[in-house]
Symmetry: C2
Subunit: 226 residues, 2 copies
């Protein structure tokens, strides 16, 4: 059997993606990094304007090693990412507060992923449609096929940036407090207060046509935890 | 009565903080911007390294028009923010998915705030202690006074950046779908799926001393929604 180029399980560690602080939380495994990316609804996207950093939250979706970022075609960030070299995006989900026995060791539990890559504006019509589908399905699974086809004018007004992952890393903290040994004698409560982002109950639009119900795919989102 | 310099209720709109997309969601009112900042636990902080954008999640706290960012003293971001001109931070909380009758009008409900300002490393010992208290109290209200005083070595190892807000804005979307008029005839469900980040039940550390209970301030966090 002919073998293709082997696909690495891990992102190579470089100056760009190396986790510098609290290295024991560092994760370079691709599947784990993808998992963090796919759990988040919004990415913080950084770019440089007139030499100054700017960070903007964007809708996004991942397909393999490609991240698609969504905005208005005429939006500043779409224009600037188009012209930028390597872009950087971060997603972070906070999973709890870690109450240690000192302020110094108090912290949070979280999942965070950072991705670097070249940003490219998608000009090809079919590629753009596929990218919009990816973003929609990552955010609202099952919805794309329920909706009418996008209109030409809607596609024209939308800007989609494709970012091929050049390097990436994640940091995942899911711990009880790690206190200094002598602090364990202090008679103070310590532990974790978990935080969870949960979808609740669907709220119907006032202008819903009579007898129209949400699909099984949409109903299944209720109660889901990010 | 002698009057000081009048304090404006709103951030002045400039090229820097002007909301460019979906302007009807733009908020420049200081109290509203502060409210969004204070609801978030993590800020996305952007800086420029070798001409390239980098974005890092950081613990933070707000006191008036000052944002304090927390990291290890030797962390790259603390060193780079120290040398940077204007820094940019964003916080975003997603409040729900907006299922419209088209992919184009589908969106999210969210609260987002973006702040620009000069970053300054806090060198003064007392100012640093005050800043650490602000960050702690914004994140874990009431905890600071329950804990032993920080040790000199702990304060030395911690880096705190002060960012005086130069300009800021928020975007707040809290809507049902806004569909194209002709799409309201499509027999498809539309509405909102709310998302809420909620603190759940305290989990005690295994090494808790016998009989030690969480304080009323910590217990009061349970069930709180961001």
């Amino acid at each position: 059997m002919k073998q293709g180029k082997p696909v690495a399980d891990e992102y190579e560690i470089s100056k760009q993606n190396k986790v510098r602080q609290i290295r024991e939380y560092a994760v370079y495994n691709k599947e784990a990094v993808h998992g963090v990316l796919d759990s988040a609804l919004i990415a913080a996207v950084a770019f440089v304007q007139d030499g100054q950093p700017v960070v903007v939250p964007m809708l996004f979706g991942r397909d393999g090693e490609t991240i698609f970022l969504h905005g208005a075609r005429k939006a500043r960030i779409i224009r600037l990412l188009e012209g930028t070299g390597t872009a950087c995006i971060n997603v972070t989900l906070v999973d709890g507060l870690v109450y240690a026995r000192s302020a110094f060791n108090s912290s949070m539990n979280y999942r965070s992923a950072t991705v670097f890559g070249k940003a490219r504006l998608i000009e090809d019509w079919d590629e753009k449609l596929r990218a919009l589908r990816v973003i929609s399905e990552r955010t609202m699974p099952g919805r794309w096929d329920e909706l009418r086809a996008p209109l030409d004018n809607e596609i024209k007004q939308t800007g989609v940036i494709a970012l091929e992952i050049e390097s990436a890393s994640a940091k995942i903290a899911n711990d009880m407090p790690d206190d200094a040994e002598q602090d364990y004698d202090i008679p103070i409560w310590a532990g974790v207060l978990p935080l969870a982002a949960t979808f609740s109950t669907l709220q119907s639009d006032d202008r819903l046509l009579e007898g129209v119900e949400p699909s099984a795919a949409i109903k299944a989102m209720q109660g889901k935890v990010l």
